[in-house]
Symmetry: C2
Subunit: 299 residues, 2 copies
């Protein structure tokens, strides 16, 4: 169950992120391209990645004011959204629905959906490079992180492994490697962005701690997805349940029993919590609440 404090903070952060995203895509654009991106950007996502950016910033900064980190939270959400639009395309996963709504290409056509994804990826870097409240050095570090974790050595690389998954995934290790690229990469990025916005000279030990935390939380997130796909139903999920099995896709449950998969989720999460705890200012740490919630979620 979600604690009241987490719920409140999620709502607060989501509003801040959606307000800035709305402002960013309401600039003058005669081509209609930003309108196409708007459909996907403002479709009620959970906003977990930008939430993590803002809360990681609060963890490491003396200030509670997240203005500095907000553009990077939005940039990361744009990159996440571009990846969903492209993943849904017919030549990729060919999904007609996401979050209970028609996917971008079903509404606007494949060509415009493709272009909207390209535009979001590009705009993410425009937004990140235009940040006025951060030093040029810190902005550059953030842009480096965005590009690295979204690119061939991060999310896109994981997607590539997934495309040839029958050839590439022959063991649990290989499956978890794919999950770490597809999902953990942007979680690590979120944590590091929050931290990088809070300091001029980043500490390597902290960056590597955050990498470990993000790795664990991302992989745990994917295992929970695998479990829900098998144990939940389409109404609760807002997408077709049981689709992994139907598509003959390898999941954690191809290698582990349900109990062992759940145990792995808990041990990954607990390790992440024990690392992040070192940096918490008090026992009330909303990032830890989030990590616990991600285990217990129903969709």
């Amino acid at each position: 169950m979600m604690s009241n404090e987490l719920k409140e903070r999620l709502n607060l952060n989501t509003k801040a992120v959606e307000d800035l995203i709305t402002e960013l895509i309401q600039v003058k654009d005669d081509t209609g391209l930003l309108d196409v991106t708007k459909y996907s950007l403002l479709s009620g996502g959970k906003r977990i990645r930008p939430f993590i950016v803002l809360e990681a910033y609060r963890l490491f900064s003396d200030s509670e004011n997240v203005t500095v980190a907000l553009p990077f939270a939005c940039a990361l959400e744009m990159i996440h959204t571009y990846s969903l639009i492209h993943d849904d395309l017919p030549c990729m996963d060919n999904d007609d629905y996401r979050r209970g709504r028609l996917t971008s290409h079903k509404v606007f056509g494949e060509d415009k959906a493709l272009l909207a994804g390209d535009t979001l990826l590009t705009y993410a870097f425009e937004v990140a490079s235009n940040s006025k409240d951060l030093s040029a050095n810190s902005s550059l570090s953030c842009i480096q992180a965005l590009a690295k974790f979204a690119g061939y050595s991060g999310m896109a690389g994981g997607q590539m492994i997934d495309l040839d998954s029958e050839k590439n995934i022959k063991s649990l290790d290989q499956l978890l490697k794919m999950h770490s690229l597809k999902t953990s990469a942007l979680i690590i990025c979120a944590l590091q962005l929050g931290y990088l916005c809070s300091v001029e000279a980043p500490n390597q030990k902290i960056l590597s701690d955050l990498e470990k935390v993000g790795y664990n939380i991302g992989v745990a997130f994917q295992i929970v997805d695998d479990i829900l796909d098998k144990t939940s139903n389409s109404t609760v999920l807002g997408k077709l349940a049981g689709s992994d099995e139907k598509n003959g896709k390898k999941t954690t449950l191809s290698y582990l029993s349900l109990k062992d998969a759940k145990d792995l989720v808990i041990s990954l999460t607990n390790e992440a919590i024990s690392i992040i705890k070192q940096y918490c200012k008090s026992d009330n740490c909303v990032l830890i609440d989030l990590f616990n919630y991600l285990i217990d979620r129903e969709k």
Copy 2:
């Protein structure tokens, strides 16, 4: 005809750009994604955009050593290449051949070609943000330029107009507006990148002069393409001649006679040359040679 000096400088710059690109995509990558990008990146393009970056740098810098500008030249070529891969996809222009070779999706499949395009766009920003030889401020200015001219208000915006061209293009002005976004945007970007790499505090008058030059050269380039599509043959072009007319596409020649179109190319180019001339160090200016060559090219 191409002058010997231009030919020599084109070869020199192309080698420098291809050497760095080769180095950049030969980093460790277990996913095979960079190998897919390599097919398109090293396919013998004319390298006009990186050439302009390097020569604009030489124009404004005291140094003849282009090392500082080289990563940005490569980043821009990566963005150009991603746009070609995505434009060739079946849901866009559906082209099987480019530069006389099979297009990326014909060789690797649509899914991997899509992902390779995404990866190149992302990698461009990784390369630009990792430049070691430039101040953080100048690097940020370059990244801003790359994102702005590649995004909704630049190349991607032009592509969007093109997708609905039957609705959007009803006059020569609207056609030229599309060309300026689709083609001029990256030429302006190339000129400004070269300049931005050469100064700490960029001068707005110079930036706006370069915008005018890039606008003219990009539009002239597209008009020449329209002319060649009508007057040349497939063997010379390395792609299907006459395809615009066959596809019922509006081109400059839908609104102008062949003579008027050629005159427009000349007046646009001459105006660009008269502006760039102010900044040339001697009468021998290889950028001017390039602009003149772009009018006379046969493909």
